[in-house]
């Protein structure tokens, strides 16, 4: 058997050229899953049969000389909050256990059309609420780099799958950092595109005005490739941006000469010293590559956490109300509908989901709306205005992705507030709706990976990938 390439772009090129079959690529990845999945628990479901059928269909197309898509034969793992027709979609929740959607999410349709092969549905913090994947109803995912530690979250399964080599690329969703933070903790690339770039149709909503789908990959170029495939207008999502999918792969190798990179002088503290040191090194590397470092201020950034933890739970409390035991999912039988709702939802949701539903319901309830939710929406505006002002003088901004490297299981599970603080650097871009990505840039404490976050203004993915590519090159050169 030929050597299996490691990146998605190499695999697609080799499969399209006929130098390797999609089936061979798939079997190699399934073998890795077999070898290590019981230890990692990246997947809620490995869809080997579906994947084999898809791979064989690609191979048949190639044998027949039919054209194939840009991801021909590329194995991909999907976070288990994206609807797959006829294939279980659980959000790692007991309330949806066994549910088979009668339709596909738009990203699933686009990946299939591009020739990607779906290897499985990955584990997450229940309904994407968490930063460690410990909140899964089906057991935590372990960090492939140190199995005593968390992979981050909520897209921990998708990050771990790529880090463990189960698939070269995967999809996650990012509401407050749920792609970028696990990417950082697992040492892979993770991208949250501009809000509205990628259709949310078929993504089980956590917080509708913040959710965005994006890729995990081992290289910046692969992340760009996947973003190109899944981005673009979708008439099924009213918040989908009308602009066509941008061309991004080239940007990753374009360099940063002449670019202006923002350094936030009033960045909220809390980052581990090793993480701060890597950020300094990143600025030096970019300056050496020809970029100009510009000091900027984001005075409202410190309030982002509060705004987020009022807005996201408020939307979630409404989004998750549909899990009522009437049309799908779990039902706990009771004497009347109200009793059935209460019992079903009590049995079906885990503690963190309940906590956020309670928090959000409270923030929206009569007499509290103005004090909490209404105020949070104004703070959100302040934060967006801060960014707008900053982007008058810079093209992108650099900050840490996570204040910490991967932490140990149970370390934060009992204290919601300390877990929420993991998102302090990722949340602001969700509130503003801007793109951001995490790129591995060396190691911090315990030799664990540190991710550096590249932020860009709305629709600024090209600039973001240029900086991401430069960081990747600098990190590779340093090692």
């Amino acid at each position: 058997m030929a050597t299996i390439p490691t990146t998605a772009s190499e695999i697609a090129a080799a499969v399209a050229a006929g130098s390797i079959t999609a089936r061979e690529v798939l079997e190699a990845h399934l073998a890795r899953i077999d070898a290590r999945e019981s230890e990692i628990n990246a997947f809620n479901l490995v869809t080997a049969d579906v994947a084999r059928a898809q791979a064989d269909a690609i191979d048949a197309d190639i044998a027949a000389g039919r054209p194939v898509g840009p991801l021909a034969g590329v194995p991909i793992a999907l976070k288990d909050n994206m609807c797959t027709h006829g294939i279980e979609t659980t959000c790692s929740s007991k309330i949806l256990e066994g549910w088979k959607p009668p339709y596909d999410a738009t990203v699933v349709t686009r990946l299939r059309a591009a020739g990607a092969v779906m290897v499985g549905k990955t584990n997450l913090d229940e309904f994407a609420m968490g930063s460690s994947t410990e909140n899964s109803a089906f057991g935590a995912t372990r960090n492939p780099l140190d199995t005593a530690r968390v992979p981050g979250g909520s897209s921990g399964g998708s990050a771990a799958a790529v880090a463990a080599g189960f698939s070269p690329v995967s999809l996650g969703s990012d509401t407050g950092g749920s792609i970028r933070q696990p990417a950082a903790l697992c040492g892979v690339v993770g991208v949250k595109p501009t809000y509205g770039r990628v259709s949310r149709y078929g993504l089980v909503a956590y917080a509708s005005s913040l959710d965005q789908i994006g890729p995990f990959a081992t290289t910046v170029a692969d992340a760009a490739l996947i973003t190109e495939v899944i981005a673009g207008h979708d008439e099924k999502d009213s918040t989908s941006i009308p602009q066509p999918s941008p061309s991004l792969v080239g940007a990753a190798s374009q360099g940063v000469a002449g670019m202006r990179i923002g350094r936030v002088v009033d960045l909220p503290g809390g980052a581990e010293p090793e993480v701060s040191a890597r950020l300094d090194a990143a600025f030096e590397a970019l300056a050496a590559a020809g970029a100009t470092i510009v000091d900027i201020t984001l005075p409202s950034l410190g309030y982002a956490l509060t705004a987020y933890y009022l807005i996201a739970p408020a939307e979630a409390s409404s989004n998750l109300a549909r899990f009522d035991g009437v049309r799908y999912g779990l039902r706990v039988n009771a004497a009347d509908t109200n009793a059935m709702y209460g019992a079903t939802r009590a049995a079906g949701f885990g503690d963190e989901v309940k906590r956020r539903i309670m928090l959000g319901t409270y923030a929206l309830s009569a007499g509290y709306y103005d004090a909490y939710y209404g105020k949070a929406l104004k703070v959100r505006r302040l934060i967006a205005q801060d960014f707008d002002k900053a982007y008058e003088s810079v093209d992108t901004i650099l900050m840490p992705t996570s204040p910490l490297v991967a932490f140990k299981f149970g370390e934060k599970a009992d204290d919601p507030m300390s877990m929420y603080l993991c998102d302090i650097y990722t949340i602001p871009t969700n509130l503003a709706g801007h793109p951001a990505m995490s790129v591995p840039f060396g190691t911090g404490a315990h030799g664990l990976p540190v991710g550096i976050q590249v932020l860009a203004p709305a629709l600024g993915e090209e600039a973001m990938f240029r900086v991401g590519g430069a960081l990747e090159a600098a990190a590779g050169g340093a090692q």
Partner: protein
């Protein structure tokens, strides 16, 4: 107007749990009250901000007039949908007796 930093009471928690249709027992009420009070306490930080004249931001990207034409699109298969329902009868979703009234 209530201040964001105000403590949350056990009665608030019980009321909110009912609104959210989450059955919780007394021990959970106590637990949630403590946790939510701690979290809400942290959220008092935004009370310090002057937000006069600031427009609430409900969506990140300001799109207007996104509409579809009034054209029929494919519907779902009733049998497939009812097969994943907790209970169905006569092509309909079956629920326990309804108490209370609609909105």
């Amino acid at each position: 107007m209530t201040q964001s930093g105000s403590p949350i009471s056990a009665a608030d928690v019980a009321k909110v749990a009912h609104l959210a249709r989450l059955d919780i027992d007394d021990a959970q009420v106590e637990n949630f009250t403590e946790q939510l009070a701690k979290v809400m306490g942290h959220f008092g930080d935004i009370d310090a901000l002057d937000l006069t004249g600031i427009e609430p931001m409900t969506q990140p990207y300001p799109l207007v007039n996104v509409m579809r034409e009034d054209v029929e699109l494919p519907t779902l298969d009733t049998d497939e949908v009812l097969a994943s329902a907790p209970a169905a009868e006569e092509r309909r979703f079956r629920v326990p007796p309804i108490v209370g009234t609609e909105g």
